[in-house]
Symmetry: C2
């Protein structure tokens, strides 16, 4: 390596023209059929299953779906597609919510669900290496015997690859961080088919640019993640969980702020608004007071979780909370938390025959009460139901408008609502998405959030690493 | 923003020829003198102070040093330098150890030490916004009244900007993470003088590529960091600290592994080897047993730190440790930890008249004992003193060979030693640097650590964001 003059700049390949020609797609699918046999699927049903958006954007199926078994097969597929200028879209379990896996320009969906090996568990190092298709529940099943866990819980039983690609988090990010904090290293196939290992297994490193964090959250637009080295945690000696009603969103948020500020290492602190509680009461046949509630969980030693629970109880009372019920036995904890676990389906059940358009924003916690309350007023004015659940320790909340996607006026009303929701969060120094990701639905907000110069930097990176624009084109940054 | 065909690729500017011509340097310094007055300095003493390496690489002074007062001034300086193809090197406090701030191609050192404003402290959100020149001790001084702290402690009183740029960490990374985990957002001046704000103040986000983490650890080669939004923590209610002797490095490492595995949220767990203990006994007039020792610290409630200390004491005993002394009163804690605090200077004092060439590596904790023990045998064979101190909870350790830089044979022996040290760490799935950074000294190991494809990706990013190669050229990746 020379320290002297810079080497000549490598000329970028010409950008592929999208969508690719029929000839290009035919050439690619023929070659894939020859190498993968029945692991290449072109039936409409499977293509549509891989082209959904869970948004108002119509289904956009890929031209073909492949099911590779190894990083090397993924590399072969990407190289082939690159040669013909055909897009590749990485697909995990398809649980992302903002239009990440659809194929607006066609191409090949790389379904990683058959890459399911847990390659290694290093108990002494509290890490493991898994293939991208392993789901978080499968991983925890695998780890349980060793007293270990992978805590990140986005709700759905998503694949680890998908969770890394979307920078997922969920209920216990307040204690354990998000995917960006829990991925030690990645193996990814880059746009030219080269295989990159982003880092060693060391817990920390200062050795060069953080390719790990660049790929985490890049939603398949910079590389196809095939293997992940994850941090693990010991299953806590004791877990305590509890629920507490509050007279208002503000009171619940103030209690959450005081909890975090006082240094209680809360593992989960979840807000459900009165509408959501109404939903879970109906769905799960519960009898909770129909007001804002906090659901909390503590991890630690027996004495530690008791101390944390009592400290939280006192804080809740100081902030106008009602009785704080808590328990440490698994079945009692499950009973108390049932409402939270059922929230997504309970919300859907509130609008029979309607579609549910989940979305999320995140603001500094000091602005959360204001943001949620304004949003609730907006929902009321809109005239649809949209229950709210929040990871309140992080300032992150979800809402799930229930609308009929066949009714253009209702869709328009919902789009307007989400637009105001995002702008409200941005005005409060927040982000257009705390954990769902950009996909197609939030692309339009990146410039407002980051500014033109930052978005330019993102585009320069995308062009540098994917000059043909074949990796999940039309997502995050359009180049 | 269009979802259709990709926009045409922007042709990169021609790379500047390095070093720049005398005319270019003269034009830049003249213009800077006109705008900055005596905040442009060209005296040899100041230039040399900004061109040191703290390695065997000779001093490489910049052509001029400037002391901006705002992000906008930094942007003006970078724009001017870009126009003339003159390098810019960001400079904090100059405490980096691997040749980060020297100017191999000359250019302008941007000394950020006069950008010292604490712009905002948001106590409810546990975050603050500071200018790059604020040091960590200054920040903690500022925060103390509010019961808040910024925990990252690399030893030196480094600037927050420099700590972000080198992805610094230190003694309590095991509990609080590194700079990558504690930076929420950055403001940086990019190679074209544009100002990028990488993220909002939200605790978490999935909104696009993680420019924050890309700039953290980029050592001034992708942008000049001017403002940082940091996570803060409450000052713990109670702190306990203790020391414990072990019969061997292996026994101490096993105790550390068991501590981490058992979920004790240890705040610091530091290993000093027998040689280092000999040094601190002499330097600080202590009477510690001259064997491997662990220094530990616990943060939490009064009951919590007592519980943690007792649990650690039991683990230490199980692993052959001697008496575990611990205390919670500040003066008692200081007495116990004095040896650790004095270690750097004690080590230097072991080689009067010699130079100290500190370096670090990091391996998975399961390999740490083996790595340290092999390294100690290597040191003995080399015939120089090189005390060892380790952030053993992260698998990260430092050694400080004491050699005479005027003696080419000694320098060669030391280089050979560091070369073997790095290769040993890499062979154990570790990294060539856990926290010091790459600078010039570790550049030669990036390909062995990351592989050619990953290094290519880093170079593509560097070329995309700094096509003229003016940002701290000749560091990390040579392009």
């Amino acid at each position: 390596m020379s320290l002297s003059a810079p080497s000549q700049h490598v000329a970028p390949a010409l950008a592929a023209s999208l969508p690719p020609s029929r000839e290009a797609v035919t050439a690619v699918t023929r070659a894939l059929a020859a190498s993968l046999g029945n692991r290449l699927v072109t039936s409409l049903a499977v293509r549509q299953q891989h082209g959904h958006t869970l948004t108002w954007i119509p289904n956009q199926p890929p031209d073909a779906v492949v099911f590779p078994h190894s990083t090397e097969e993924v590399a072969d597929i990407v190289r082939l597609c690159a040669r013909h200028g055909v897009p590749v879209i990485a697909f995990g379990t398809g649980t992302s919510l903002e239009g990440h896996v659809n194929a607006p320009f066609g191409g090949v969906s790389i379904d990683l669900s058959q890459m399911k090996r847990v390659i290694a568990v290093h108990a002494e190092d509290l890490d493991c290496v898994v293939e991208a298709g392993v789901t978080r529940k499968e991983l925890n099943e695998h780890l349980r015997d060793q007293g270990l866990m992978f805590p990140i819980d986005p709700g759905a039983d998503a694949s680890i690859g998908g969770m890394a690609a979307t920078r997922a988090s969920g209920t216990n990010a307040v204690r354990y961080g998000t995917m960006k904090d829990n991925v030690i290293a990645l193996t990814a196939v880059m746009a030219d088919g080269s295989i990159v290992k982003t880092a060693s297994r060391a817990r920390k490193t200062s050795a060069g640019y953080d390719l790990t964090r660049l790929l985490v959250g890049s939603e398949g637009t910079l590389g196809v993640i095939t293997e992940i080295t994850l941090k693990l945690h010991g299953i806590p000696e004791a877990i305590a969980a509890g629920v507490c009603p509050f007279p208002s969103v503000k009171a619940a948020c103030d209690a959450a702020i005081a909890t975090i500020q006082s240094g209680i290492p809360v593992a989960r602190i979840e807000l459900l608004d009165d509408v959501m509680i109404r939903g879970v009461n109906a769905y799960s046949k519960l009898d909770l007071p129909e007001t804002t509630m906090l659901f909390v969980e503590f991890h630690g030693s027996q004495a530690g979780v008791a101390e944390q629970s009592e400290a939280f109880g006192a804080i809740a009372q100081d902030n106008g909370g009602g009785r704080f019920d808590w328990a440490t036995r698994a079945e009692d904890r499950s009973r108390l938390w049932q409402a939270r676990h059922d929230a997504y389906w309970a919300a859907r059940a509130m609008g029979p025959g309607l579609d549910s358009l989940a979305t999320d924003v995140c603001v500094p916690i000091s602005r959360l009460a204001e943001c949620v309350e304004e949003t609730k007023r907006d929902i009321e004015a809109c005239g649809f139901l949209a229950p709210i659940a929040g990871h309140v320790g992080d300032g992150n909340f979800h809402t799930q408008p229930l609308v009929d996607l066949a009714d253009p006026e209702a869709v328009e009303r919902c789009r307007g609502f989400i637009d105001r929701l995002v702008k409200r969060a941005l005005a409060m120094e927040g982000t257009c998405t705390g954990e769902h990701g950009v996909g197609q639905k939030k692309m339009q907000y990146l410039e407002a959030e980051h500014g033109a110069a930052a978005l330019d930097a993102m585009r320069l990176i995308k062009r540098a690493l994917d000059p043909q624009n074949i990796l999940n084109p039309g997502k995050i940054v359009a180049v």
